[in-house]
C-alpha cells in the first residue's frame, strides 16, 4: 500500500509540473530583460494588476552581458533595455522587431529631443526609458578639495578610496576624454595611448561595481568615484553631502530604451508594457525610485521642484557630452586591455 501511495504521489507531482509548464505557455506573460536597479517593483505590480500579465524581470549589469544572453537564447525575451550603441548593433544585425506605433498611443508624451535620436532616427525600434550621464560623486564631508574632472579623482591621495563602474568601455572612455581622444575611435593606436594612464588609475581604484556603486559610499568604503548619474541622484537624495560633478574633460550621455527583440514570444504584451510606462503617472514612479533624466515631458510636470532640482538627474549648464557608438569587435580588445591591467600587480 505504501508503495502505491508513493507512486500516486509521484504521478501527482509530475502531472502538476507538466500542467505548470503548460500554464507557462499561456499568453499572460512578459519576459522583461532589463538593467538591474532600473525597473521599480511598483511599476511591474501595477502593470500586472491592470492587465493580468505576469512580468518575469531578469536583470543584467552591462549591455554586453545582455547581448550575450539575448544571442544565446533567441525567442526567450519580449523586451530588452539596451543603451544607444547596443541598439545600433542590434539594428545592424537585424535583431530587433519594428514597433507597431498604433499600439503606442502614449508616445506623444515624450519630450521632442528624445524622439529623433541618432541611433534610431525614426524611433522605429526603440522607446527611450531613461537617459543619464556618467559623472563623479564626491563625499564632501571627507573630501574638501575642489573636484572638477577625472584627473582630480584619480590622484594617489584617494588611493583605495575610489569606486568605479565595472565596465571596460567606460573606464577606457574616461582616459580618452582626458587625453582628448574621441571616445568612439577605439583602435590599437588609441588603446596603446590610453594604457599607461589607465594602468595608473586602476591601481587607485578600490572597487568596481556597475550594479549598485552607491552602496560603497553608504557603507563608508569609498569617498569618491565615477558612477551613473541615477546612482548619484539617489545618494544626493539620501544625503546632500554626496555631490555630483560632470567631469570637465567630457563625459558621455547614455540613453537606455525599451526594444523588442525579433522572435519575441509575447509581442502584444511587450507593446502594452511600453505604452503603460509611457503614461506620465507611471513614468513618474520610475523617476522617483531611479532618478535618471526622464525623457517623458508629461511625467516631468508631475515631479516635485526638489526632484527637478537634483543636479544629478537634471544637470544644468552645457557640459561636453558624447554618445557611444557601436565599435564591433574592438569591444573585445578593450576587454582584454582591462583584464590585462587588472591582473597586473
Amino acid at each position: 500500500m505504501k508503495f502505491r501511495h508513493a507512486f500516486a504521489f509521484a504521478i501527482a507531482v509530475v502531472a502538476s509540473l507538466v500542467l505548470a509548464s503548460l500554464a507557462r505557455a499561456d499568453d499572460k506573460e512578459l519576459n522583461l530583460f532589463a538593467w538591474s536597479e532600473y525597473v521599480p517593483q511598483s511599476v511591474i505590480d501595477g502593470f500586472t494588476k491592470e492587465t493580468g500579465i505576469k512580468v518575469n524581470y531578469e536583470k543584467y549589469a552591462s549591455n554586453e552581458e545582455m547581448l550575450s544572453k539575448l544571442l544565446a537564447q533567441p525567442g526567450q525575451y519580449d523586451l530588452v533595455q539596451p543603451s544607444e550603441y547596443t541598439i545600433e548593433a542590434l539594428v545592424k544585425k537585424d535583431l530587433l522587431a519594428p514597433l507597431d506605433k498604433s499600439k503606442l498611443s502614449n508616445l506623444k508624451n515624450l519630450a521632442p529631443e528624445f524622439t529623433k535620436l541618432g541611433h534610431d532616427p525614426e524611433g522605429k525600434y526603440s522607446v527611450p526609458w531613461m537617459s543619464g550621464t556618467v559623472g563623479i560623486v564626491v563625499n564632501t564631508e571627507k573630501v574638501k578639495d575642489e573636484i572638477t574632472g577625472y584627473k582630480d579623482v584619480f590622484q594617489p591621495k584617494f588611493a583605495n578610496n575610489i569606486v568605479a563602474l565595472d565596465d571596460a568601455r567606460e573606464l577606457v572612455s574616461w582616459v580618452m576624454d582626458v587625453k582628448g581622444i574621441p571616445v568612439n575611435e577605439v583602435n590599437e593606436k588609441n588603446l596603446a595611448a590610453v594604457k599607461p594612464m589607465l594602468g595608473q588609475w586602476m591601481k587607485l581604484i578600490k572597487v568596481y561595481d556597475s550594479d549598485s556603486p552607491k552602496t560603497h559610499f553608504l557603507n563608508g568604503d569609498v569617498v569618491i568615484g565615477v558612477v551613473w548619474s541615477g546612482e548619484a541622484a539617489l545618494l544626493y537624495k539620501q544625503d546632500k553631502k554626496f555631490k555630483y560633478v560632470l567631469p570637465a574633460e567630457g563625459t558621455h550621455q547614455f540613453i537606455d530604451s525599451l526594444a523588442i527583440p525579433k522572435g519575441a514570444p509575447h509581442l502584444d504584451n511587450a507593446h502594452q508594457f511600453i505604452n503603460y510606462i509611457l503614461r506620465p503617472e507611471v513614468s513618474k514612479l520610475v523617476s522617483e525610485e531611479f532618478p535618471y533624466t526622464n525623457p517623458n515631458a508629461e511625467a516631468r510636470k508631475l515631479l516635485t521642484p526638489e526632484q527637478l532640482g537634483n543636479p544629478a538627474s537634471f544637470p544644468t549648464g552645457s557640459p561636453k557630452m558624447e554618445i557611444f557608438h557601436d565599435i564591433g569587435k574592438s569591444a573585445s580588445a578593450i576587454d582584454e586591455l582591462v583584464t590585462d591591467l587588472k591582473s597586473q600587480k
Binding site: S68, K69, A331, S332
Partner: protein, 359 residues
C-alpha cells in the same frame, strides 16, 4: 582497491542484468545530459569563432588556443624547467659528495633523498616561472590569472586543512550522542544559500560593519580595518565557504580510526607528536586527500566570492571565463579556457589518484 573478481567465481559471473541496467539508466542519462554533452559542446565551441556582435560562427579555427598559448610562454616554460633542473643537479651532487647528508636530512624532515630533490627543484622551478609570469607586459594575462587562482586555492586549501583537521578530529572522537549534535553545527550553514552567506560577510567586514563597530567600541583598535572589498576578504570568504568540505571527509576517516592502534603507539614509547605524525595522519590520509580535492578544485574555478568580496579588482580564472560569456561576448574563447582548465584538473586528479593507489 577493487577486489580481484577472477579469484572468486561467484562474483565473476555477477554482471548487471537488464534490471541492473534499468536501475542505472537515470544515472547514465544524468551523466550524459549534464557532463558528457556540455563538455562536447564546449569542445566544439572552443574551435569556433565569433562575429562582431558575439554570435558563434562555426568555422574551424585554432585562434582561441593561440590566444591562450602566446609564444612567450614556451620561453618561460623552458627557463623554469632549466632552473628546476639546475637546482636538482646541484642537490644530487651534494648528496653524492656527502653520503651522511641524506641521513641527516631524513632525520630532520622524514623525506627521502628523491622526495627532497623533487620538492626543492619543484619549488625553484615554480618561483622562476612565477617571477617571469608576473613580469610579462601584456597578452599574458591567462597564465598570470591562472597563477593567482591556483595560489589562492592552494593557500585556502592549506588553511582549511590546518583549521579543519583539529575540528574533524574532535568531532570524530566525541561521544556518539554529542557527535551528531556537533555535526549539525557544521551542516547548519548549508541551510542558507551560499551567495547569501557570502553577502553576509560584507555586513561583517565593511568599514562601518559589525566587526569594525565592535572593535572600535570595545577600544581594541583606533582606526577601522579596511578589508572590504579586498583580496583578504576573498580569502576569508573562500576559507569560510569551503571549510565544511574539508571537515566532512576527514571526519569520516577519524571516525573509523582504531583506538587500539593509537594506544599501541603510546605503549611502544611514541610521544603525542610521533603518534600523531606516524599513526594518526597516515590512517586518516584518505580523508585528507579527499578534503584537499574537494576544496582545491572548486576553489580554483570559484568566481562568485571574488565578485562579491573582492570588488572585482583582481580577476581569477573563473572571472576571466565568466567575462568571456558575458561582457566580452566571446563564447568560443571562454570555451577554450574552460577546456584548458578541465585538462589541467584531469591531469592533476589522475596524478593524485595514481599516487594514492601506490600508497
Amino acid at each position: 582497491m577493487t577486489p580481484d573478481i577472477n579469484s572468486n567465481p561467484a562474483t565473476a559471473t555477477r554482471r548487471p542484468g537488464v534490471r541492473g541496467w534499468l536501475l542505472m539508466t537515470p544515472l547514465l542519462a544524468w551523466l550524459f545530459a549534464f557532463v558528457v554533452a556540455p563538455t562536447l559542446i564546449m569542445l566544439v565551441y572552443s574551435f569556433c569563432e565569433r562575429d562582431d556582435i558575439g554570435q558563434v560562427v562555426f568555422t574551424f579555427s585554432l585562434d582561441n588556443y593561440r590566444k591562450i598559448f602566446v609564444p612567450q610562454y614556451y620561453g618561460i616554460l623552458a627557463w623554469s624547467l632549466g632552473a628546476a633542473a639546475a637546482v636538482a643537479g646541484f642537490l644530487a651532487f651534494g648528496f653524492y659528495a656527502d653520503e651522511s647528508l641524506s641521513y641527516k636530512l631524513f632525520d630532520l624532515t622524514g623525506m627521502t633523498r628523491r622526495q627532497l630533490i623533487a620538492l626543492v627543484a619543484g619549488a625553484a622551478g615554480y618561483c622562476a616561472m612565477r617571477e617571469q609570469v608576473y613580469a610579462m607586459e601584456s597578452g599574458g594575462n591567462f597564465l598570470r590569472i591562472l597563477f593567482i587562482s591556483v595560489e589562492l586555492a592552494a593557500i585556502c586549501t592549506v588553511i582549511c586543512a590546518l583549521v579543519g583537521y583539529p575540528v574533524a578530529y574532535f568531532l570524530g572522537r566525541a561521544s556518539e550522542s554529542n557527535r551528531n549534535k556537533l555535526m549539525m553545527l557544521v551542516m547548519i550553514p548549508f541551510w542558507t544559500n551560499f551567495l547569501i552567506r557570502t553577502y553576509a560577510w560584507i555586513t561583517i567586514l565593511s568599514k562601518e560593519g559589525l566587526l569594525n563597530t565592535f572593535l572600535l567600541s570595545a577600544h581594541i583598535i583606533k582606526e577601522p580595518f579596511d578589508i572590504m572589498p579586498s583580496t583578504l576578504a576573498v580569502y576569508i570568504g573562500t576559507v569560510y565557504t569551503f571549510l565544511p568540505f574539508m571537515i566532512l571527509p576527514i571526519y569520516g576517516s577519524v571516525e573509523k580510526l582504531d583506538n587500539s592502534l593509537i594506544e599501541a603507539a603510546f605503549d611502544l614509547g611514541a610521544g603525542p607528536v610521533r603518534a600523531f605524525s606516524n599513526i594518526i595522519v597516515p590512517l586518516t590520509r584518505p580523508g585528507i586527500v579527499a578534503g584537499i580535492l574537494l576544496v582545491f578544485i572548486p576553489a580554483v574555478g570559484m568566481f562568485a566570492i571574488n565578485d562579491v568580496l573582492g570588488g572585482r579588482k583582481v580577476p581569477l580564472i573563473g572571472n576571466k571565463i565568466d567575462t568571456q560569456f558575458k561582457s566580452a561576448r566571446d563564447m568560443p574563447f571562454g570555451a577554450a579556457l574552460g577546456i584548458i582548465l578541465l585538462l589541467l584538473f584531469a591531469v592533476a586528479f589522475f596524478l593524485t589518484l595514481r599516487k594514492e593507489e601506490k600508497n
